[in-house]
């Protein structure tokens, strides 16, 4: 019994890399990306069996930066509860599963979070006719929530802080939760606003439901890697910054080839690794054209947003906090210098 246990522990913690993770990924020939498989818009499997979504595009961008080929990604679908173990055990190289950056996740999980790719907040969905218009109306009612997330902690802290006594119903996976809510076991359910929008489409009568104009938390979502490998952390961080900057400099999927050759702006040349500016990108341990490849594969940040969540999608989300800083948002690409 004890031997089996120890063996199990050993297997769980065996993948400690002697060499750097970047080199290990290059040797392996594929990037392992921990993703969501059921959240339309962020990470889901489409009708053809391909992974699609906002987070998925960042996986592709990182793979393109490392290999020059966005298809060299192995997606690991994870539930919320599986995330920390998958990251800690080294099973995945990067976690891109609508994961909120929190202090405890940095300290307890041992995760390093890259730049925030989506500024979200926790909201509530209720039936339009339920008579629930504020948090106080949840008194004596049932609220469905998914386990293994920051959501349940926020729910408990906020509602009990207001002296509202409610009945929580906890589910491990979102699809079961959606069904229970749809069947009327809960008066409302809560998760990040983006998730509410995404899952609303799966309800039998989406129009009968509304999202309350209340946001009870800050949920900055972004990529996470494991503590202790600064080089790999830099690669993930600066690939995201490269996509932020590309939008700011007007580099798009369509014009990036042209920009690589003809751009005059030294910032753009450094970003794309145009001849004469190699050291800026190669210092990460990547090829000079790494970020050119990333932009070529998925487009800049704005294009990723619009394609998956914005005007080009069923959600039609406004950029809001996720607009560039010069347009009043919080997206701010740090300089390549």
């Amino acid at each position: 019994m004890r031997i089996l246990l120890s063996l199990a522990l050993l297997v769980g913690a065996s993948s400690v890399f002697a060499q750097g993770r970047l080199q290990a990924i290059k040797d392996r020939g594929e990037l392992r990306c921990g993703v969501n498989a059921t959240l339309t818009g962020f990470g889901f499997v489409d009708a053809d069996g391909n992974y699609q979504g906002f987070d998925i595009d960042f996986c592709k961008a990182i793979a393109a930066a490392v290999f020059g080929d966005a298809s060299k990604v192995v997606y690991r679908p994870l539930t919320a509860g599986e995330r920390p173990t998958a990251l800690q055990s080294g099973e995945i190289d990067v976690l891109l599963r609508n994961t909120t950056r929190t202090s405890l996740r940095e300290t307890d999980w041992g995760a390093n979070f890259g730049p925030t790719t989506y500024y979200d907040g926790q909201g509530f969905m209720v039936r339009k006719d339920s008579g629930i218009n504020s948090l106080a109306d949840f008194e004596g009612r049932a609220v469905c929530v998914q386990s293994g997330t920051t959501t349940e902690t926020n729910l408990q802290t906020t509602l009990s802080g207001l002296g509202i006594s409610f009945t929580p119903v906890i589910f491990e996976t979102a699809p079961v939760l959606i069904k229970a809510y749809d069947d009327g076991q809960c008066d409302g359910w809560t998760t990040d606003t983006s998730g509410l929008l995404s899952y609303q489409l799966q309800l039998r009568q989406p129009d009968d439901h509304k999202i309350l104009p209340i946001v009870i938390s800050k949920e900055p979502l972004g990529p996470a890697v494991l503590h202790g490998d600064d080089q790999w952390f830099d690669v993930v961080t600066w690939t995201v910054f490269a996509l932020f900057n590309a939008e700011e400099y007007g580099v798009t999927q369509a014009n990036v080839d042209d920009m690589l050759v003809n751009a005059q702006d030294p910032q753009v040349k450094r970003l794309l690794g145009a001849p004469g500016s190699e050291s800026y990108v190669q210092a990460f341990g990547l090829r000079a054209d790494a970020f050119y490849q990333a932009i070529k594969a998925v487009g800049n940040y704005g294009e990723i947003f619009e394609r998956n969540l914005g005007a080009g999608s069923v959600f039609g989300l406004e950029r809001g906090l996720n607009a560039q800083y010069y347009e009043g948002g919080l997206i701010y690409g740090f300089p390549f210098n």
């Binding site: 522990l9 800690q88 504020s134 948090l135 008194e139 386990s147 207001l162 006594s165 209340i214």
Partner: protein, 605 residues
């Protein structure tokens, strides 16, 4: 010659220790133990090093930190600020709750079907065979999802439309509520009587046994001990009801805007919740507002449905229901029809003018949907209801409002500031609370009570209050575990019965026992001895299988541990706690049942 040789060998030449079997055995065992210890040492060291290198927590320092976990089913009091350790304890108790009840029910059901399978009646036998073969061949996870999604969730919705069974049982898609006897704050007054009754009963039992043994009579054992117990305990219980005064420090405070009250003992300004206190709520004149809804609920389209919490006939002297804005409703030609006055009805347009809801009239031809979003008001006169506070001292009523004139209410609503701020949930909710302040003036009286109080389940807002509540999540898991395990127990019981030698049956018949007597006095007791060891395995299986609870959303040990693991990242300490917890349950089961087995086992001479 031979003798001398033998003596010479054993006497003069001592066998060297490497050829002595005993010594070799001891050395081999020491070496084996050493190898195992070293092996474990290497593994543990490896894990500790690897965890340290990956910066992972490998200790239990997270346990005392506040958990902030919402847990609905809690056998012991729990708040969001309580520790991870307490949250885990609640999960553990929830596992016990499903395991113990499950074991008892699975045994009953299993024995029943096991015996049925051996019946001489073809129909009974076939039913049992089909039951067993179908259920033990479907994976448990599938059965849990089936019970949860296909059987329990499609029950009627909670408010006003639950299936009301005789005896105060309410079944809806949130679960089962039924009346229950709870011990009150005066239970301690009964306790000495209970203890005395127990002592008396045990003494009577021992005396009776001694008598029977001395006389060597196999007679019917008269239930003297039971009679003595019931008599003394009953007298004690009655005396607790003889002194009907309410303690001066017991209070009830009512937050009218939430329809929620708290019963508590207040000493020196410190409030301590008082559990299970009956409180009478009286309202001379109150209103209750609701909005008609168009919903797909429990897979049925309901159009323009109006729902109010259940109001009993004796609770309100007069009930009237009308539109909040009768003029506007009349203009649209809308009327109200009730299926179950006043709790459930529909808004419809009386197009043919016969003052009755005819098929199709609940649908608005302009939109093709029901008349949703119409405000309806119920007015009650002389409402009176007795509530029993729960374990946390909470009582809840429907969200009544005082009946005031519409003009004043409108002015108050427009004067209140509009909620604002994106990240300021707290500010917004407090604004909403001020708006509703002093909307109800209820007369609340604490009723005197004895050692026990009868608490009834009802639905004041959207969920059961009072009585005992079993959630659908718990029921789904329990039913799946019971039904699944009972199919295995049935086969064990059948095997045990078949293993009793035929001669026993024939001998019983020879001394003139009837078929029923043969089974209950001869065959079944012997079969029990055979079936107990494999039964213990099934009990342990049931306990461990409860860890599939997350499929039905039930907060048991494994589910809560997984949530905590996700929050803290402490995978290995949590895994160790899980192993320890399940081991503790399993070993406790084994110890108790092995004792029973040892007592029952056939002593062969």
């Amino acid at each position: 010659m031979v003798d001398a040789q033998l003596r010479g060998k054993s006497g003069d030449n001592v066998v060297p220790f490497w050829r002595n079997v005993k010594v070799i055995g001891i050395i081999a065992q020491i070496a084996f133990v050493f190898a195992i210890v070293a092996g474990i040492g290497v593994l543990v060291n490896n894990v500790v090093t690897a965890l340290a290198a990956a910066n992972l927590p490998a200790d239990f320092s997270f346990l005392p930190r506040p958990a902030h976990l919402p847990i609905a089913e809690r056998p012991i009091p729990y708040e969001g600020t309580d520790s991870y350790a307490r949250a885990l304890l609640i999960g553990f108790l929830n596992t016990l709750k499903v395991a113990l009840v499950g074991v008892a029910l699975a045994t009953v059901l299993g024995v029943l079907f096991g015996v049925m399978r051996l019946s001489a009646n073809w129909l009974v036998r076939t039913i049992a065979s089909v039951y067993i073969e179908v259920l033990r061949n479907i994976p448990l996870a599938v059965q849990i999802v089936f019970w949860y999604s296909a059987i329990l969730l499609p029950f009627p919705p909670r408010i006003s439309d639950p299936v009301a069974l005789p005896g105060g049982l309410l079944m809806s898609n949130v679960g089962l509520g039924f009346p229950f006897l709870y011990p009150t704050y005066r239970f301690s007054a009964w306790f000495p009587w209970l203890a005395a009754a127990l002592v008396l009963a045990v003494a009577a039992l021992l005396w009776r046994r001694a008598q029977l043994r001395r006389l060597d009579v196999v007679g019917r054992v008269w239930p003297y001990p039971l009679v003595a117990f019931v008599a003394v305990a009953g007298v004690g219980l009655a005396t607790t009801y003889l002194n009907p005064s309410v303690p001066p420090d017991l209070r009830v405070t009512f937050e009218a805007d939430r329809g929620r009250g708290t019963t508590s003992f207040v000493t020196d300004g410190q409030a301590r919740p008082a559990a299970f206190v009956p409180v009478r709520v009286e309202l001379p004149h109150a209103t209750l507002t609701t909005t008609s809804q168009n919903l797909v609920e429990s897979r049925e389209v309901v159009s323009g449905t109006v729902r109010f919490p259940l109001i009993g006939k004796r609770e309100a002297a007069a009930v009237t229901v009308d539109f909040a804005d009768p003029a506007a409703a009349a203009e649209r030609g809308l009327k109200l029809a009730f299926r179950d006055f006043p709790s459930i009805g529909s808004v419809y347009a009386d197009r043919n003018g016969n003052d009755r809801l005819d098929a199709g009239e609940e649908i608005d031809p302009a939109t093709g949907r029901g008349y949703g979003g119409v405000e309806v008001v119920m007015t009650l006169t002389d409402f009176r209801r007795t509530l029993v506070s729960d374990r946390d001292g909470q009582v809840r009523t429907p969200l009544f409002k005082a009946a005031v004139d519409a003009g004043a209410e409108e002015a108050a609503a427009t004067a209140a500031p509009k909620p604002s701020g994106r990240f300021s949930a707290f500010g917004q909710a407090s604004t909403a609370a001020t708006q509703k302040e002093s909307s109800l003036t209820a007369e609340t009286t604490i009723l005197p009570v004895g050692a026990l109080v009868w608490s009834r389940a009802f639905i004041p807002v959207a969920n059961y209050e009072g009585g005992m509540r079993l959630t659908v999540n718990y029921l789904a898991l329990l039913l799946a575990l019971v039904v699944y395990t009972s199919s295995f127990i049935a086969e064990i019981v059948r095997g045990g019965i078949l293993a009793v030698p035929k001669g026993q049956r024939e001998a019983a018949q020879a001394i003139g026992l009837s078929g029923y007597q043969t089974f209950t006095l001869v065959v079944f007791p012997q079969a029990m001895r055979i079936v107990l060891p494999p039964m213990i395995s099934q009990y342990l299986n049931l306990t461990k299988n409860s860890s599939l609870a997350s499929l039905a959303g039930y907060a048991e040990f494994f589910v809560i541990a997984s949530v905590i693991q996700n929050q803290t990242g402490a995978a290995i300490p949590i895994a160790l706690l899980l192993v320890g917890g399940y081991l503790a349950i399993s070993l406790a089961f084994s110890v108790v049942l092995n004792q029973v087995n040892a007592r029952l086992a056939l002593v062969e001479r």
